[in-house]
């Protein structure tokens, strides 16, 4: 909350100073990069509404150092090639700040460009550990890592479900395979019997062979590392084939589209998600602002994106300018008070702490915490 007050004070100061310097109504541009189209556009929406709301709130409070923020949307369609094109466009457009990208496989190649060009990037959704293990200075994230999420899922499976035969399926992409491997490691440490570890092709529609294989291996628990379009079809086809097992996935499967695809078969799916920050009473006013404009703040990346913008703005205030190098140094020292809690970054640019929670997903798109 303190930072909100800080903005208010700044806003008042800006108003007073504004009379003198109306002419220099400069704006600080922030690139909002993520999938606006394509199969995972729904997650892009979450990121966009969160970051736009943050920009709006900060501007209403007077902006940053007297300047207004302006968000400019870039669409990478979750495609690594387009992500690099977007990164180059951001460079050409002379923008120094990026909130994004969303898919880890997009963030990774795009961040190479940002690091080289001294553009400060904060991703609100990419959870692949590889992104921050390259010693980059300009790359931050306001979400946890697969290496945090995997153990949460693995421990839940081993301690609460205690299944007989586990199969781990992934989509061979950076995000999906990374998290699947992390779950596998945890399960094997705990002595759970993993009978199958297999990749599928992202974009595939027919999983009948895979399901027959799962049936034959007497699998009673399936962990899927990947996104909802494939898992939705696997759930639907499993139900049609009469294959009954408990399914679980990472936050990449947790959105309403999976209900449309899988229908009743999505009931009871287990999902690891960032905690429901929108349920935190401290965020009630903010959540209401989303509701007032007909938006949903409960998406997994809405408030992490809000925090990403706020972190950038706070660092601008702290350093009194927009020098990205000074800002990245300051960000590693600062404490940020955001809707996703009080956060601090470590040397790599990761959050010092971020907890994932296991939820039961329901066929109407709602979720309840799994006990």
């Amino acid at each position: 909350m303190s930072s909100h007050k800080k903005f208010l004070k700044l806003g008042a100061a800006a108003l007073l100073a504004g009379a003198a310097s109306v002419a220099s109504a400069e704006t600080i541009k922030i690139a909002l990069a993520g999938p606006v189209t394509g199969p995972v556009a729904q997650y892009g929406d979450m990121q966009m509404i969160g970051s736009k709301m943050a920009i709006q709130k900060i501007n209403e409070a007077g902006g940053v150092n007297g300047a207004q923020l302006e968000g400019i949307v870039y669409d990478d369609a979750c495609d690594p090639k387009q992500a690099v094109a977007v990164a180059n466009k951001v460079v050409n457009d002379g923008i120094s700040f990026v909130v994004g990208h969303l898919c880890s496989s997009s963030t990774q190649p795009a961040s190479d460009v940002y690091e080289d060009e001294g553009i400060l990037m904060v991703t609100a959704a990419s959870t692949s550990p590889d992104i921050t293990t390259r010693g980059y200075q300009m790359v931050f994230r306001t979400i946890g890592l697969d290496s945090h999420q995997g153990p949460v899922a693995g421990n839940y499976i081993a301690d609460k479900i205690k299944p007989g035969n586990v199969a781990i399926i992934h989509d061979k992409q950076q995000y999906g395979e990374g998290i699947a491997t992390s779950v596998k490691t945890t399960l094997e440490e705990k002595g759970v019997n993993v009978v199958m570890f297999e990749g599928i092709t992202s974009g595939d529609k027919d999983f009948s062979s895979l399901i027959a294989k799962l049936q034959k291996a007497n699998v009673d628990f399936v962990y899927y590392g990947g996104y909802h379009p494939e898992l939705g079809l696997i759930l639907r086809q499993s139900a049609e084939k009469g294959f009954k097992a408990q399914f679980m996935g990472p936050e990449g499967v947790g959105n309403n589209d999976i209900n449309a695809i899988a229908g009743p078969a999505s009931e009871g799916l287990l999902v690891t998600l960032p905690p429901s920050f929108d349920k935190n009473p401290a965020n009630a006013d903010l959540v209401k602002s989303f509701v007032d404009v007909g938006q949903d703040a409960s998406g997994a990346f809405v408030l992490t994106a809000y925090s990403a913008v706020q972190v950038l703005a706070d660092a601008m205030v702290k350093t009194g300018g927009t020098d990205t190098d000074a800002m990245q140094k300051a960000m590693r020292e600062m404490n940020f008070s955001t809707p996703t809690g009080d956060i601090q970054f470590d040397e790599k640019g990761d959050l010092k702490q971020f907890d994932f929670v296991v939820y039961n997903w329901h066929q109407d798109g709602s979720k309840t915490e799994a006990k």
Partner: protein
């Protein structure tokens, strides 16, 4: 022992299902190639449009309160065929006919352009996200032991039957009808056929329309089977069907049927006994192998290069 056998049967059934639909789409590639010697790269999009149209019809009729499934499916089938074949016809009119007689590369590029246009057209008109319909035909037969149950769903059976009917009808049409005879004549020698008074433009249009109708049937069947579509499904389906057509011998109709079935079975058996990860790698290696030893494909015949 019995279990292993049932598992094998199950995978064969799965492979035949997917293979049948590859074959239906592959016909469109192979017929167009047989007649004008070009690959219609926009054909996958025609299949995608077929799926979308059937989804729209199914959703529309369900909203109107019609619940009798055969009526809904017949209506979806009819409208999907009409719309898709209009697209097939229009693709030929706009991307091929104006370029007739031009260098062979040029219509190829215009077809790829058409494919990109159609994909983006559907993205803009229907949204880029997955659209889904609830299962229309559920249930089936299961057989087996307690440990493993093989199943054949009604939907799979419908796919087999529909493919069989379409293929038989097409074979009859090509071998017996007047238009079919004209098609074969044009495929053999387009200039000669023209000289002998066959309206070759009409024959070429008919080829695109027939290919598109079969793609629409595949679109409806796969739409019902998977229940999900997005504007990009045409690309992968088109690639697979094209592979099937090349495998069987492009230009040959029985070859497309055979190629589709072989591709479907290879995919399903690889997924079953090796790993889903290797599905595409094995299928495409098979394609390379067959082309190495039999460059015209399994049932293709040696052809004089058309100029």
């Amino acid at each position: 022992m019995l279990e292993a056998f049932l598992y094998f049967i199950q995978q064969i059934l799965n492979g035949l299902t997917i293979g049948s639909t590859y074959a239906l789409i592959a016909i469109g590639y192979t017929m167009v190639y047989g007649i004008i010697g070009m690959i219609n790269f926009a054909h996958g999009e025609v299949y995608m449009i077929g799926t979308y149209v059937s989804f729209v019809v199914i959703a529309g009729l369900t909203m109107l309160g019609i619940e009798y499934v055969p009526i809904i499916i017949l209506a979806a089938l009819t409208i999907a065929i009409i719309v898709s074949s209009s697209f097939g016809w229009a693709i030929e009119r706009t991307a091929y006919r104006p370029l007739r007689g031009a260098n062979r590369l040029i219509p190829l590029i215009s077809a790829i352009g058409m494919s990109i246009f159609l994909q983006n057209f559907v993205v803009n008109a229907q949204g880029a996200r997955d659209v889904a319909i609830p299962p229309m035909i559920s249930g089936g037969w299961t057989f087996g032991t307690e440990n493993f149950q093989a199943s054949l769903s009604y939907m799979q059976l419908i796919i087999f039957i529909a493919t069989f009917i379409c293929m038989s009808a097409l074979t009859l049409f090509i071998s017996k009808s007047r238009m079919g005879r004209a098609c074969r004549a044009v495929a053999e020698d387009i200039k000669m056929a023209n000289l002998l008074g066959i309206n070759t433009n009409r024959v070429i249009s008919a080829t695109f329309v027939i290919g598109a109708s079969l793609a629409a049937v595949a679109g409806l069947l796969l739409g019902l089977y998977y229940g999900v579509a997005n504007p990009h499904i045409g690309f992968i389906a088109g690639l697979k069907a094209f592979t099937a057509a090349v495998l069987g011998g492009i230009g040959s109709i029985p070859g497309a049927m055979l190629g589709g079935i072989i591709l479907g079975l290879t995919e399903s058996l690889t997924a079953a006994y090796i790993s889903s990860e290797w599905k595409d790698a094995v299928s495409f290696s098979l394609l390379v192998l067959i082309l190495l030893f039999k460059p015209t494909g399994l049932l293709g015949k040696q052809e004089v290069e058309k100029v």
